[in-house]
Amino acid sequence: MNEQVIPLKKNRLIIWMFNPFMYIAGGQALIIGLLVIVTTGLIGSLGNVHFDGVLDMHPGPVAPLWLFFAEGFIDWLSLAAVLLVAGLIMKGTSFRFIDVFGTQALARWPMLLSAAAGLPPANQRVTDELLKMAQNPNQPLSLQPVDIAVFAAAMIVILIALAWMVVLMYRAYAVSCNLRGAKAIISFIAALLIAEVASKFALWPLFKIISK
């Protein structure tokens, strides 16, 4: 077989980091992606880190484990379903639904890093202090410098992971639906915004259940 059929000029590591879907898609991506979602939920539950929207990640209230799993699954399904519709509207050629769902599940893997970054209790302490300050601006902040440093480092990791995940989500969409250029970018942004709103609506009743 001619190895040059698809030129692989780019470094393989870079491809694996930003477009693993060149090598993994379909059922294989779906299995790995589902494991990622479950693991992210488990880690999130340890630090009370909630993924309450396709692109959201916040320290939040103590909640039952099922809610952390539900968040991950609803976030994934919201975006995958909207992108599937976008792909069907925009498509130039036929594509497999399992590729859309599988690659979108796998694209969420940087959230593992976010969940891990949210584990240190210092994040919760800083968040609580900031919330207190927001409610009562005259109250002075009582934070340890170490807590601030840990919180700042966690925020940097979370922001990088979020940007990385968006890049992966876009690449997953482009590869699965065979879309390129402005058509792919515009439809992806629109789908992402719709899915963000849809996931918020889908998760809202679940948060109401635990707040009772």
């Binding site: 001619n2 698809i6 991506a29 590869v175």
Partner: protein
């Protein structure tokens, strides 16, 4: 053996076959022959199509052979299909112009 040129290096126009030679007896045939459509594809694209035929047209087998994902291989095939359609249009246009 060097690769068959399909485009004029000077003006980028489609090349045609003017002379064919028998290596055994040195008989030469002269004329003006069109290059077949598949020959006009890049060598990488021709190799892809040969592999695809060898896989009995199965994209799944092709993906396993190339160690790439199914949609990546399917997208590559779609690109080649688009190129073939474009070439067919060019050939039809050229034939129409000639017949005028």
């Amino acid at each position: 053996m060097s690769q068959l040129p399909v485009q004029c290096p000077a003006c980028k126009e489609q090349l045609k076959v003017k002379r064919l030679v028998c290596e055994n007896c040195q008989t030469q045939v002269e004329g003006l022959y069109e290059l077949p459509l598949l020959v006009r594809l890049e060598s990488e694209e021709q190799a892809f199509l040969i592999d695809f035929l060898k896989c009995s047209g199965s994209l799944k087998d092709m993906a396993a052979l190339m160690k790439l994902s199914y949609p990546t291989v399917r997208n590559r095939l779609d690109e080649i299909i688009d190129k073939i359609k474009q070439l067919e249009k060019t050939v039809a246009k050229e034939a129409k112009e000639k017949s005028k």
